[in-house]
Symmetry: C2
Subunit: 414 residues, 2 copies
């Protein structure tokens, strides 16, 4: 390969050392300058993007749509950086502190992770977004975007690096891997000693590849097979609104619902009602046997449907005998992302949130709220579906770690 | 292979579901009963241990020592379980909570990780210790100990499982892999979907194997190439005591010092002084050029020495021109475990703790204090040297994760 990942890793570590000591004021000023530079370079960014778009003519429309940059989208990316500049800086916060039995004064201080790797698909906005978030949290970042966005990403990274260089900051704080072969991507996933964490963002396939091939620590994100369970004690009007919202408000995202489970006591009333509401959005229903009996026009669900994240106007529907059956089904099929119960029973709601295993569990609200911005973090680097380090929406703090600082006066261990 | 890891994983998940809902009182009662059962079964445990010891005759003395169980050691293990029973239960704690702009009431609740995998060497005490800690934190555990301790571990696990069964608790909460081939170990490291985390405990080689082969999330523990830096502004009497303690109080452990760096302004005074003190413990000194000039009898250090965790009475010694050089050296060679400066300069101390990258950074104290018990956690599952999830000594909380619980009243996303 033409590029040297070890060299990039070493350069990133060096830049990370500088970034870790940088004041919040300086980081914020640089983020604001990056935002201005993006807008000022609108024309050259669009020209680079045209190069990518020409090659992507044969791709599906939604792929091309995500790849396309125009003036408004570049302004959005710039505004994203300004928002990050306005967020509180987690670095230097003290999580906790105490004096131990030896008189040692121990504090647990928030520090940057160091070097963050990002691996993602052909969405150029991730380049700017991830670079900004990592920078604010004092981390160097090495970005590896999809090959179809290479020209665009190269230009975006260059604009950001130019700002760093013009301000006397090590430009290797933000690096882009410009060789997009699978071979280089695999080496990147095994850059132990240089990457403190690797965060994949994109399709379930991309994430699974990273989980399987990476030897550096990974945060799994994004896969969402989310369920809505309508309890026998549900307010069915509320349930209808929540199901329609969770399925149809933005079906392509990970916190959209993919499966509806309905308690048998309300199935005959609720299923026709919700089917009618979903029909307005042309949602295809794939039902179990009892659902198909009640709804004449539902397609029989296959075994696979219960485990599928459609990201589309399709919903798997099942009837369950009990709350316990709903919980068992969800824990067997979900991706530990977001799950909701609609109920007016205190006891059933408590049991659901206690027993369902997921990053976020809702009583009487749409799963669509699992989101760093909605949660008030002001930003989101992804939604973790694993249990280590961070779970659920990840804001700036998920891009930090801690360091124990111990002040003594000559203590030795007995 | 004779054993079915998938089956063990499924059984563990099932047991984890039960454990996650178990009250603190019940968990504590069971831990106390397990402690009693260990003592009551002293004789059969020692018999099993004899089987292992007979096969281990050719092994080095310290290996045999760690493998050997006697009445006192079994009592120690039992007391360890009682101590765990007496610790506060982290499960159910609320880390934080707020109401968002949509009126959603969000709390972040501590929950068990689920299923924890432990992989370790021929130290039977880890079997009981890890089982107890995982149990208290509401996790099922799958243990894979060294093959040389198989008979002992099998008996220990059986004693603990019998307690679970006799009390109507799923005995699969504590499982031992009884087939100790490398092939099975590798499959264990790739048990995605069943293991929420895998924690290796033991030699650097074991840990690196796990890091390289595992596809499940891993917490790296233990490797400690720890440094003491004696600053030009150090109290040299204090520095001598700290160096001797960090090197000699228990050289075999990960928080013992392996390298001494001395500022050139005090090298000629301090090096002979500390060499004399270390000579009482027959510590072999391996020095850089300047150290060897000052200390006639130091062995010249090789390139490799600076990166070696001796776990023995050997110390690499270097002279540095500046604090900055010391920090650069440490960040280049350390394992991110524990690092100490001895100084009376406020400014130098602050710079050291700011710029040295390690789980724990000390001013004027021995590195030997990096320990879950010393830190007041009451227990320790290991010392994390990575940056994700947990860093430094890991107590019960490191065996938990969080879940967002969101209470709404019909909210849908606009």
């Amino acid at each position: 390969m033409a590029i040297d990942l070890i060299e990039m890793g070493q350069a990133a570590r060096k830049a990370a050392f500088e970034l870790a000591q940088m004041s919040t004021t300086k980081k914020n000023e640089l983020l604001m300058t990056m935002a201005q530079a993006l807008v000022a370079n609108t024309e050259v960014i669009i020209t680079a993007n045209q190069t990518d778009l020409k090659k992507a003519k044969e791709m599906p429309q939604n792929f091309v749509d995500r790849l396309t940059l125009d003036e408004a989208r570049i302004k959005d990316m710039a505004n994203g950086l300004k928002q990050i500049a306005n967020l509180p800086d987690p670095i230097g916060n003290i999580d906790t502190g105490w004096t131990n039995q030896d008189g040692l004064k121990i504090v647990k201080r928030r520090v940057p992770l160091g070097v963050v790797g990002m691996i993602y698909e052909a969405r150029p906005n991730v380049t700017v977004d991830a670079a900004g978030l990592c920078f604010k949290a004092g981390n160097a970042v090495i970005l590896r975007g999809g090959k179809e966005a290479l020209a665009t990403n190269t230009k975006l990274a260059q604009v950001l690096q130019d700002v760093l260089q013009a301000n006397g900051v090590d430009q290797n704080a933000i690096q882009l891997i410009t060789e997009t072969s699978h071979h280089v991507a695999e080496k990147f996933m095994q850059l132990n000693g240089y990457l403190d964490v690797l965060i994949p963002r994109g399709s379930a396939r991309l994430i699974q590849t990273v989980v399987q091939k990476a030897t550096v620590p990974v945060i799994e994100t994004g896969a969402g097979n989310c369920h809505i369970y309508v309890d026998e004690k549900a307010d069915l009007g509320m349930a209808e609104k929540i199901v329609v919202n969770a399925k149809c408000q933005r079906p392509s995202v990970c916190n959209a619902a993919e499966t509806l489970l309905v308690h048998q006591a309300v199935a005959e009333t609720f299923l026709p009602q919700v089917a009618q509401a979903l029909a307005k959005y042309h949602v295809e229903l794939r039902g179990d046997e009892r659902t198909c009996e009640i709804l004449g026009d539902a397609v029989p669900a296959s075994e696979r449907d219960w485990d599928t994240e459609y990201n589309d106007y399709i919903l798997t529907v099942g009837v369950v005998d009990t709350l316990a059956d709903a919980i068992t089904h969800i824990n067997a099929h979900n991706t530990k992302h977001s799950e909701a119960i609609v109920t007016d029973s205190y006891q059933n709601g408590q049991r659901f949130v206690d027993e369902v295993d997921a990053s976020t569990v809702y009583i009487n609200a749409s799963t669509r709220f699992t989101d760093g911005f909605v949660f008030g973090f002001g930003a989101e680097i992804g939604i973790s579906t694993q249990k280590l380090h961070a779970r659920g929406p990840m804001g700036l703090e998920a891009l930090t770690t801690t360091k124990y600082i111990v002040n003594g006066n000559g203590q030795i261990r007995q």
